[in-house]
Symmetry: D2
Subunit: 140 residues, 4 copies
Amino acid sequence: MTDPEPILDELRERLRDSTFHRSMGIEVIDAVAGEVTLAVDVTADQRNLQGLVHGGVLATLGDTAMGLAVRTAVEPGTSHVTIELGVHFLRPGQPGRLAAVGRVIRVGRRVAFAEADVLDADGVLLARTSGTYAVARADD
Amino acid sequence: MTDPEPILDELRERLRDSTFHRSMGIEVIDAVAGEVTLAVDVTADQRNLQGLVHGGVLATLGDTAMGLAVRTAVEPGTSHVTIELGVHFLRPGQPGRLAAVGRVIRVGRRVAFAEADVLDADGVLLARTSGTYAVARADD
Amino acid sequence: MTDPEPILDELRERLRDSTFHRSMGIEVIDAVAGEVTLAVDVTADQRNLQGLVHGGVLATLGDTAMGLAVRTAVEPGTSHVTIELGVHFLRPGQPGRLAAVGRVIRVGRRVAFAEADVLDADGVLLARTSGTYAVARADD
Amino acid sequence: MTDPEPILDELRERLRDSTFHRSMGIEVIDAVAGEVTLAVDVTADQRNLQGLVHGGVLATLGDTAMGLAVRTAVEPGTSHVTIELGVHFLRPGQPGRLAAVGRVIRVGRRVAFAEADVLDADGVLLARTSGTYAVARADD
């Protein structure tokens, strides 16, 4: 069985090293092999002109949760890049704390597929995202 | 025929009013009815851990170009919200100036569809995006 | 609570009236409000040149399961048309019996969103599909 | 430069060998490296309950045009499988002759991306499709 602690630590380190994610205030809340939960406190600057959470914030949260979930599911020494990202916006988000739960659906030798739920503080589903990843081992 | 100047001015105002877009440094370069061109200078903070332009930046650029293109094609007093966003990442982007050209493919009474090319300074295609929008008139 | 029998009967009638689906041999196995299960016996004619189940068969199964699931979730007198269909092919399918489980994720006043799993006889996930639907009441 | 004749002949042979496509009546009209045009006469059996062309027919046409376009653009001895298919339905189709034009947008070492327009006899755009393909050489 995979010990979740090193996974959590590794993912937190990755986000800390990423200016893009750090500037958005994304935190890793939980991580096991194949599933990663993130959270972010949406600030006033991340709202759109209607005062709702910007779609780009929901997309980035889902995308990041999926990418990290794939990270937990591929072998060490494997790289993965996003080929395709899909976002379905289901409900407008109000400012406040949001979470994203990314799950790996399938990891193949060359391609991985993941999905994420983006939820508000009450657990209401705001967006569903899907992502396809090209997976490559160091010796490919 | 639509005079492009008021369109350009209105779109520039919209972006200026959006903290999210202003903080990314997105500018409107050109706009006619149905097609909008944006540009951004990618800063060091918008690169990922491999030093390439973050996928979220490409997605946001395409998304914004499509949304503004829809804006130019719907009647005044009409609102539009993104239902669905798709991004295909075709080539890794190097830091520098990027452009996005958003085009409306179809505006119906209730649904609009647009696409965008995200290009680097040499015109190389980095990503293709597509977006579906729910359109509503004020009296709907 | 919704009595599932009338739902099942109505969906079976819909498929029976559709030459397209009847010619593919698609059957409704189960249906409750918001979730519909279909099955099909893949014939030799529905394989591709490699002898695997044709991607179009997986796509059609998922699409049909989602459309019927939306049907169970909208009010009587409401019409729905597909705006957008997405299919992720996860594993090659061998000839034999396939099932598809379509689920409604969100039904709004104007837009509905559904997903489906397409599975082989052993319950192995072959494809995931997603669909966006424009919903209209008779008086819209 | 690539002589189009062998390409056309090879694609026609592929479709002729495919019971699935033959049963739909899909024909190859034109093919050059990177772009393939198909046509089909939609029969009464390919309409949905509203008497319109079934979405599955539009999806299959676009999917096939894209797959064959990728076929013309990869090296001999290379196989490609569909990873992901997206379909945006833009207008309802009336029975009659339909065409699909598939274009390769990018062929990489491992992944290819294509798009297709599905048009009616008057050239009106009914659907736009996109497809992602995993590409593998025989020795991979």
